[in-house]
């Protein structure tokens, strides 16, 4: 199912570097803050994962992915760009011929991109002038999606712009419609070859060939559109049997999307740095949120642990399994890390009363950042693994302004399907106030400029799960949406819904402008 929605938000969180009816809009006061149209200036790569209505009866939704590039002139205009869309039937490419955008003082705004098929409409929130979050906001209600955008470095728009060791995470659905996650690592030789690498493919809860399989591949300019590489950072790739397109963000990040008919994998690869080769190189607190599917249906899993010399302590794992919440804890587990430097590691622990062992595989991007995949029996899920601060987590340490993005499934709408949210909120003394846009994936259920209020109530041990409660002034109101929240380094807060009728996950990312 739409497992990748969660991942989308989680991965976007790493790289700074769905309720109501009616559609009534509440008019808030003008936003204040340091952002303006000038904050969005230059070339940005973007990627989104979402759902679209495909049936002629307008009743059946399907997953889709999009990846691309747009150029903002700092004055509210989109001057050029390109995108590829995979509707699970193979991908199509479009060129943006124009568009427009607005950015308010709080970093929130709108974005339209015009191509030969029409005008695409998005709501955006800037984290900084370099990156932000976006959701699709078509008023016809025929699609929704969530993703992120990040400034591109055009000096890397070369084949040689992809060079060195990268960790990657691709997720989506396989050609049969089952959730799939591929995490791994590759070495790009700067000349078009992924010459070495390893991956773990969890395809519908089958760990293909047991995981940790060698992979190789190629990357190049698109022979049909060779100038796209220099213009947009766009090219084509083949990696471990997956074919698709890439967009270079810079020398430290590349966005990938499968384009062959049937599958809808998409994700990012990130340059690896200071990769540990011993368990001693991984220490301290870590948090994660993963999204995916279990036998019961959509699943989110979040948690934390302390790593120390190959041993795990203070393990907490929260599961929302198709609407049933289960929080568990353990005090013993183990982890490993590849001594050869691939960054691949494993996490294993058991919880009293649980029949199945908890098993994760991760690939490190840095000593405190990794992509992580759940390989526990009967589960396919993935997400981000982030280090926690060594300093005290408190209301005061967390105070500030945040971009907020969540995505997932809800059963509170007229149908059980996707919801996406983006916006901005201030956090002070544990209280949240802000404004958001929300797409509930139905006609007339695109809510803009909705006041948000809530609380982030820290637990006695704030390194564990804390309680995030959000109310949205939609009409009718969405009051008391509850999440477990996990605090990571740099005040990034990952969260997952704890409700029976909502399986969403998201992120609070501090705004830095």
């Amino acid at each position: 199912m739409k497992r990748s929605l969660v991942l989308c938000a989680m991965l976007a969180a790493l790289w700074a570097s769905a309720c109501g009816g009616g559609g009534t809009t509440v008019t808030p006061p003008p936003p204040t803050g340091p952002f303006s149209n000038q904050s969005l200036s230059g070339q940005y790569a973007f990627s989104m994962i979402g759902s679209e209505i495909a049936s002629s009866q307008l009743t059946t939704s399907n997953a889709f992915t999009r990846v691309g590039s747009f150029t903002a002139d700092g004055k509210g205009n989109i001057t050029t760009g390109a995108e590829d869309i995979n509707l699970a039937t193979g991908a199509s490419q479009f060129t943006f011929t124009g568009g427009s955008y607005t950015v308010g003082g709080d970093g929130r705004g709108t974005l339209t991109l015009v191509d030969s098929s029409g005008t695409l409409t998005f709501s955006i929130t800037l984290v900084s002038s370099s990156n932000g979050y976006m959701i699709a906001m078509p008023t016809d209600g025929l699609s929704t999606a969530s993703g992120s955008f990040i400034k591109q470095d055009s000096s890397a728009f070369l084949v040689s712009g992809i060079a060195g060791n990268y960790a990657f995470d691709l997720s989506g659905v396989d050609p049969t419609g089952a959730a799939e996650s591929i995490v791994g690592q590759f070495f790009a030789n700067s000349a078009g070859g992924f010459t070495t690498g390893f991956s773990d493919d969890n395809d519908g809860a089958v760990i293909v060939n047991g995981g940790n399989q060698p992979i190789t591949g190629t990357y190049a300019a698109d022979g049909l559109h060779p100038s796209d590489l220099a213009n947009f950072g766009r090219g084509v790739f083949s990696l471990g049997g997956i074919q698709g397109v890439f967009y270079i963000v810079g020398r430290n990040q590349v966005k990938f999307m499968e384009t062959t008919s049937g599958g809808t994998l998409a994700g990012d690869a990130f340059t690896q740095s200071n990769i540990p080769t011993t368990t001693a190189g991984i220490s301290g607190g870590f948090v994660y949120v993963m999204g995916g599917s279990g036998v019961g249906g959509p699943l989110t899993r979040g948690g934390r642990f302390t790593a120390n010399g190959g041993n795990l302590q203070s393990i907490l794992v929260d599961n929302n399994n198709a609407g049933t919440l289960l929080s568990l804890s353990a005090n013993a587990g183990t982890y490993t890390i590849d001594s050869a430097g691939s960054g691949r590691g494993t996490i294993t622990y058991n919880v009293a009363g649980q029949k199945n062992t908890f098993m994760y595989v991760f690939y490190m991007i840095s000593p405190t950042q990794a992509v992580v995949q759940d390989q526990s029996i009967g589960i396919v899920a993935d997400g981000s693994l982030l280090g926690q601060p060594s300093t005290t987590i408190s209301d005061s340490s967390l105070a500030g302004k945040y971009a907020i993005n969540w995505s997932g499934l809800t059963s509170t709408n007229i149908t059980s399907d996707e919801e996406d949210l983006v916006g901005q909120t201030a956090l002070a003394s544990g209280g949240l106030t802000g404004t958001i846009d929300l797409n509930e994936f139905a006609s007339g259920k695109q809510f803009t400029s909705v006041p948000l209020t809530g609380t982030l109530k820290l637990s006695a041990d704030p390194t564990g799960h804390n309680t995030l409660t959000v109310s949205l002034a939609t009409s009718p109101a969405n009051n008391g949406i509850t999440f477990f929240a996990y605090v990571a380094n740099n005040n990034t807060v990952l969260f997952m819904a704890t409700q029976t009728v909502r399986l969403t996950a998201g992120v609070l990312t501090p705004q830095t402008q």
Binding site: S55, G204, A205, V295, G323, G378, V380, S411
Partner: protein
């Protein structure tokens, strides 16, 4: 009462077949596990069956209503403090749809390749 399990495994060797009459069909259950459910009247009593994606049924032109006779291949699974019947294959007359893979993971609907064109669907929507 057995402890609730964070993950459950599906085993083809444990599959059973349910045959019966639809009592009710819920496309969008708010009772976990989320998704579409059908209550089936079997010879041994009513059974709540989790189907998963309603879209998958629709995309295969399968619509369920009270009184329909159907056959389901699946497996009873522990869930929360109780259990549910996870459907892998549903048959209605000559129609059949696979709802889960062999590991029990629910499948999602896929766009019909032979359907309308991408562009016409995009029309300002995507």
């Amino acid at each position: 009462m057995p402890a609730a399990q964070a993950s459950i495994s599906y085993d083809l060797s444990r599959e059973t077949v349910l045959e019966g009459t639809v009592v009710s069909f819920t496309s969008n259950s708010k009772i976990p596990p989320l998704g579409s459910h059908v209550t089936l009247q079997t010879a041994s009593g009513p059974v709540d069956v989790h189907l998963g994606s309603e879209g998958l049924l629709k995309s295969n032109d399968i619509f369920l209503a009270a009184g329909d006779s159907i056959r389901i291949v699946g497996e009873n699974q522990p869930y929360g403090g109780g259990s549910f019947f996870a459907a892998r294959i549903l048959q209605k007359g000559s129609q059949s749809v696979t709802l889960r893979n062999s590991n029990g993971i629910p499948l999602s609907s896929k766009r019909n390749v032979g359907g309308s064109t991408i562009r016409s669907r995009r029309g300002g929507a995507l």
